[in-house]
């Protein structure tokens, strides 16, 4: 039933001269799903995505993207794929509008380029040369070029690297606005946890070319069921207890203090804690 999967990867391997970039990676992405490939630099995220995009050859493994092997995909397969590359310096002497109008020509069901300019928030910059855009504006143009053909599957490679927090949040809102409701499947790479948590339905953590964990960002790595730490202040001393059942510890403390527990906190491991543990275990 490959029809339900936008992306299906089994045993993917890729070696560069003397280093293994992807080492037996399996991945399924359901139609309409938004999946983050999360991992440190050099984990094999970009290589994996470039193989899925048909930009790179693989050494071994089976890959199906929209039911087609990207290695032998016909030109019209590209009409259903949108790509936002990691860094682009092209189109510098053209304007935003010229670039989008030109690329809209290549697709049979293209969006209206002027509408895309509005969608990505570049209305005021439509007539500006691309080389005069700021980093964030340039990235939004790249997204516009990625979606102008109305793709069914959109790839974004580290879309917000180098952004300040405010621009990143605005960018996330853009991706959400572009993808919710129309069933676009999205695969993006990031090394930011908050980005994965904010955008993805599912996170796959890649370390050393393999997927070491995957799941809902809230439950990743057993995060929801991990032991919690209950801390409180006992006079001047800070006390804490690790427990699988924090509610009963708090109830017990409440009874002991006969009311509010001084300095009470209950913490679960953050996504970052889980992630760092996964990376450590994965590289070991």
């Amino acid at each position: 039933m490959t029809d339900q999967y936008a992306v299906r990867v089994r045993g993917l391997r890729k070696r560069y001269r003397d280093e293994t970039a992807v080492d037996g990676l399996d991945l399924d992405v359901a139609d309409g799903e938004i999946v983050a490939l999360l991992g440190p630099n050099g984990a094999g995220k970009t290589t994996t995505v470039e193989i899925l995009e048909g930009h790179r050859d693989r050494d071994a493994g089976e890959v199906s993207v929209l039911g087609t092997d990207p290695r032998r995909a016909p030109l019209r397969w590209r009409r259903s794929i949108g790509i936002v590359p990691q860094s682009a310096r092209d189109l510098s002497e053209l304007t935003v509008a010229e670039s989008l109008r030109h690329f809209a020509r290549y697709y049979p069901e293209a969006r209206d380029p002027d509408e895309v300019i509005g969608l990505v928030g570049l209305t005021g910059k439509a007539g500006a040369l691309v080389r005069t855009l700021s980093g964030g504006q340039r990235r939004r143009l790249d997204v516009g070029l990625g979606v102008v053909g109305r793709p069914r599957l959109l790839f974004l490679d580290e879309p917000t690297t180098g952004f300040d927090p405010e621009v990143r949040r605005a960018f996330w809102a853009l991706i959400r606005a572009l993808t919710t409701g129309d069933g676009t499947t999205v695969v993006f790479t990031t090394h930011y946890l908050d980005e994965a948590e904010a955008l993805a339905d599912r996170v796959a953590v890649i370390v050393s070319g393999r997927i070491v964990a995957e799941g809902d960002p809230a439950t990743l790595g057993g995060r929801a069921t991990a032991e919690a730490t209950v801390s409180w202040r006992d006079g001047t001393a800070l006390r804490s207890r690790r427990t699988g059942d924090p509610a009963s510890v708090v109830a017990e403390l409440t009874a002991r203090y006969g009311g509010p527990v001084p300095g009470l906190t209950v913490t679960r491991p953050s996504l970052e804690d889980v992630y760092l543990t996964l990376i450590e275990d994965g590289t070991r």
């Binding site: 490959t2 029809d3 995009e53 048909g54 930009h55 790179r56 050859d57 929209l66 039911g67 087609t68 016909p74 030109l75 019209r76 397969w77 590209r78 009409r79 259903s80 794929i81 790509i83 590359p85 860094s87 682009a88 310096r89 092209d90 189109l91 510098s92 002497e93 053209l94 010229e98 030109h102 690329f103 020509r105 290549y106 697709y107 049979p108 069901e109 040369l129 070029l145 053909g149």
Partner: protein
């Protein structure tokens, strides 16, 4: 899964659109524009002013002889050198990668480039002819036949040199090294084709034979036949314009260049495997 089947423009139409887009970008890059047009123009004006003399048995001055030759050299430089460098730059800055990621037929890209350099070449010819007539008293031909000769030599020359430039650009490792990769063969070719060393028949026999293998010599000869009076024929290698052979050599380079460029042209750069 079904892939969309809707209609998109043919590669030829897309190529035309790409050509217009490339031209727009080219003319916005002022440094490149000045360099492309000024180099052959300044060379022609300087060399033409420095050399004196009239060719024996004709009324053609050394400067006039230089005009069609420099037009050929200018066209070869635009089509071969500039095109090769621009493709290497497209590879460097991600243009090729973006096009490869979109449903763009490679033929549309190649056509766009050839269309772009054809337009630039025509503009260059106009500029060099203006210098030739205003500074050196070259008479523009009155007979339509000569313009026709000029037309087909230009078209075949532009196409042949463009395909060759596209093919050779694959050898450059980066946009920065492309200048060297493209310019060295071009300069050697210009010398052995009798562009700077005139008249062509004064070249040593082995160099002449080598030059005759490449399109530049034939383009220059074809342009001389269009713009110079036939009295200069005694200074041509075979004392004839050899239009048949010119057409043949240029056509062979067009076909060979196209085949070579289809074989060697890659969307991807070195190390992107």
């Amino acid at each position: 899964m079904t892939l969309p089947t809707g209609a998109v423009p043919s590669p030829a139409i897309l190529g035309l659109h790409r050509g217009l887009l490339e031209l727009r970008a080219f003319f916005r890059e002022r440094d490149a524009v000045v360099f492309t047009f000024a180099l052959p123009a300044v060379l022609l004006a300087l060399l033409g002013s420095l050399i004196t003399g009239v060719y024996e048995g004709s009324t053609v001055t050394s400067a006039q002889y230089l005009v069609p030759s420099m037009i050929a050299a200018g066209v070869a430089s635009t089509t071969f050198v500039n095109l090769g460098i621009s493709i290497a730059a497209d590879r460097d800055d991600g243009t090729l990668k973006r096009l490869r990621g979109a449903p763009v037929p490679p033929s549309a890209y190649v056509l766009g480039k050839v269309f772009m350099v054809l337009v630039i070449s025509v503009a260059e010819v106009v500029l060099l002819l203006a210098i030739g007539t205003l500074m050196f008293g070259v008479d523009l031909p009155a007979e339509p036949g000569r313009w026709l000769t000029f037309g087909w030599v230009l078209l075949l020359g532009v196409a042949g040199c463009s395909f060759l430039g596209i093919a050779v650009s694959s050898l450059a490792r980066s946009g920065r090294s492309a200048g060297a990769v493209m310019n060295l063969p071009y300069l050697v070719l210009a010398f052995i084709s009798g562009i700077f060393f005139t008249p062509v028949s004064a070249l040593p026999e082995p160099l002449l034979r080598l030059g005759a293998l490449f399109p530049l010599k034939w383009m220059a000869q074809g342009f001389r036949s269009a713009f110079l009076p036939d009295t200069i024929l005694s200074h041509e290698v075979t004392r004839s314009w050899e239009h048949g052979r010119t057409a043949l050599v240029l056509a062979v380079w067009c076909i060979g260049g196209l085949l070579l460029c289809l074989r060697t042209f890659r969307w991807r750069g070195h190390g992107e495997r």
